[in-house]
């Protein structure tokens, strides 16, 4: 309900009478978003099951949703899958944080100095279009099979997107806001911290989101290529499952990878985005 209040941008006082109405509204709202999603999910599962039943591939290569979901359940409770997920998420968190700091610094430099932007812009754009997997051979040469190699590629994947997002967000700031900031005494670092970055935030969040997508993809590629003994990450789980022809285990790990991506994109970034837009009156009240 707190989320509902924040998203609507209105502060409603807690009143006994309206709690039920709020709850009902929340259920309806969740139903409206989750209803179509549940339908699509059911359809996908049905298609999967139909494919299995068609006998296109034997069941030990392509198991149906039933056995895979059962396997997912047991692996998460008893197997290594949960530990693997924790390792992978830790790497993602570290990589994304480093990328965030570097990407923001790079973006601010590009916003501030036109010459540097002309110099760095095409390089950053090039880095962004470069498939991050292509970095791994070099990363492994430089850092061997280590955490550093993975971190290196995750940061290279995500930081350019974050920097580009900040520059794009800054480009869309109404000039009047920057002028108002100057008139009101925001100079030097304050101008960036209190005017430019918050004003650029709606556009910047899109860059943060894209940066996350790149970081997550790079991380998965890295975990498949850079296997570190004793570090049973999600990528390693995928590799092992393939090597042991454990199709159910493989699909269960894939579902975890997919769910994490969806959860971060929709729940974390989607919520941040909606919150920012609601607070600034950029959200259609009907939507």
């Amino acid at each position: 309900m707190r989320w509902h209040e924040r998203a609507s941008g209105r502060l409603t006082l807690f009143e006994g009478r309206s709690v039920w109405r709020d709850a009902l509204g929340w259920v309806r709202r969740v139903g409206r978003t989750l209803g179509p999603l549940a339908a699509a999910l059911a359809l996908a599962l049905a298609g999967w099951q139909a494919l299995v039943w068609s006998g296109w591939r034997p069941a030990y290569v392509l198991p149906g949703p039933g056995p895979v979901l059962h396997r997912l359940h047991t692996d998460l409770l008893h197997g290594d899958l949960l530990r693997a997920t924790v390792i992978t998420l830790q790497r993602a968190a570290v990589g994304y944080t480093v990328a965030l700091v570097l990407g923001m610094a790079l973006g601010l430099v590009m916003v501030r100095a036109r010459t540097l932007r002309a110099a760095l812009g095409p390089i950053v754009a090039g880095l962004q279009s470069m498939p991050s997997v292509a970095w791994f051979p070099l990363a492994i040469l430089l850092f061997r099979l280590s955490e550093a190699a993975i971190l290196f590629v995750v940061v290279l994947g995500a930081a350019p997107a974050i920097a580009t997002g900040l520059v794009a967000g800054a480009d869309h700031i109404p000039p009047l806001l920057m002028r108002a900031g100057r008139v009101l005494g925001a100079r030097g670092w304050n101008r960036y911290r209190h005017v430019l970055v918050p004003a650029a935030l709606p556009g910047f969040v899109a860059g943060l989101k894209q940066g996350w997508a790149f970081a997550w993809r790079s991380l998965m590629a890295g975990e498949l290529l850079v296997v570190i003994p004793g570090r049973l990450s999600l990528g390693v789980q995928l590799q092992f499952a393939r090597e042991f022809s454990d199709a159910a285990g493989l699909l269960a790990a894939m579902i975890v990878v997919l769910l994490i991506g969806v959860a971060l994109d929709g729940l974390v970034f989607g919520r941040i985005e909606r919150g920012i837009r609601a607070r600034r009156g950029l959200l259609d009240p009907g939507g």
Partner: protein, 265 residues
């Protein structure tokens, strides 16, 4: 009613007069260089006494906003000098509130930039919001307010800056007439209570006569002060009053002549 050419306008510097708050001496401003050079101001001179309310009127493109930018220090004159005593602040036609901050955070913004401690900020914000009668919307966001309320928040924010010279660039042009009248009353009251100096740019002659101690008429192009009209009417004035209308008609005629002269030349 005196009409004075800019060349003969002498700054008021006698001993008994209040000190000068703003003075422009033969200010020229050219944008661009070489063949692309666009002259915005061409030898503007005028002075504003401390505590005076001066309105600048002129056709669009006569350099009114440029003058305010120069006084605010956002821009430098190409030639001539701009003297300002005391801190200035500038208000625009758009309230230009920061959409990510609440009303009270917006008003606190200049204090925060000055590094004022939190307790003082809170106290000052309350005082300034009360001054513009908006203490009840302190926690709201700008997008939840009407245009008039937003402009009042902008006024409170400008006052919070501690400026002695308030520069206003057509601040009420986007508001409906009723709201504008209310804001005229409010601005007049604040100007008197806080002892501010106001330089107010508008293309609305009646608004200028309603508010100003003096109305300066700017040349249609070439940016000079071509005429000066002291407004000797007692305050508070009503924008509908016959006296305001009479003087407005006189100034409007001068403005029309100015535009027409320029069209012929």
């Amino acid at each position: 009613m005196t009409e004075t050419g800019s060349a003969t306008l002498t700054p008021l510097c006698s001993d008994h007069a209040p000190p000068t708050a703003v003075a422009l001496h033969a200010v020229t401003k050219v944008y661009g260089q070489g063949r692309d050079a666009v002259p915005a101001l061409n030898g503007v001179s005028f002075a504003v006494r401390a505590g005076e309310f001066v309105c600048l009127v002129g056709a669009s493109g006569c350099g009114k906003s440029t003058i305010l930018n120069l006084i605010a220090g956002l821009d430098r004159p190409s030639e001539g000098t701009v003297e300002v005593s005391g801190r200035t602040t500038l208000m625009f036609q758009d309230a230009a509130l920061f959409p990510w901050l609440t009303v009270e955070e917006n008003v606190a913004f200049p204090l925060r930039m000055q590094g004022a401690p939190k307790a003082r900020r809170r106290e000052q914000v309350r005082a300034f919001l009360t001054m513009v009668h908006l203490q009840h919307v302190a926690r709201r966001r700008p997008h939840e307010l009407s245009g008039g309320m937003r402009q009042r928040v902008a006024l409170a924010r400008a006052l919070a800056q501690g400026a002695r010279v308030l520069l206003m660039d057509e601040p009420f042009a986007a508001l409906d007439a009723l709201m504008r009248d209310r804001l005229h009353d409010e601005l007049e009251r604040l100007w008197r209570e806080a002892g501010l100096t106001v330089v107010f740019v508008t293309h609305n002659v009646r608004e200028a006569v309603r508010l100003g101690d003096r109305v300066l008429l700017l040349a249609a192009r070439g940016g000079r002060v071509v005429a000066e009209f002291p407004v000797a009417l007692p305050r508070p004035r009503r924008i509908e009053s016959a006296a305001v209308a009479e003087l407005s008609a006189l100034i409007t005629d001068a403005l029309r002549r100015e535009v027409a002269d320029h069209a012929v030349a």
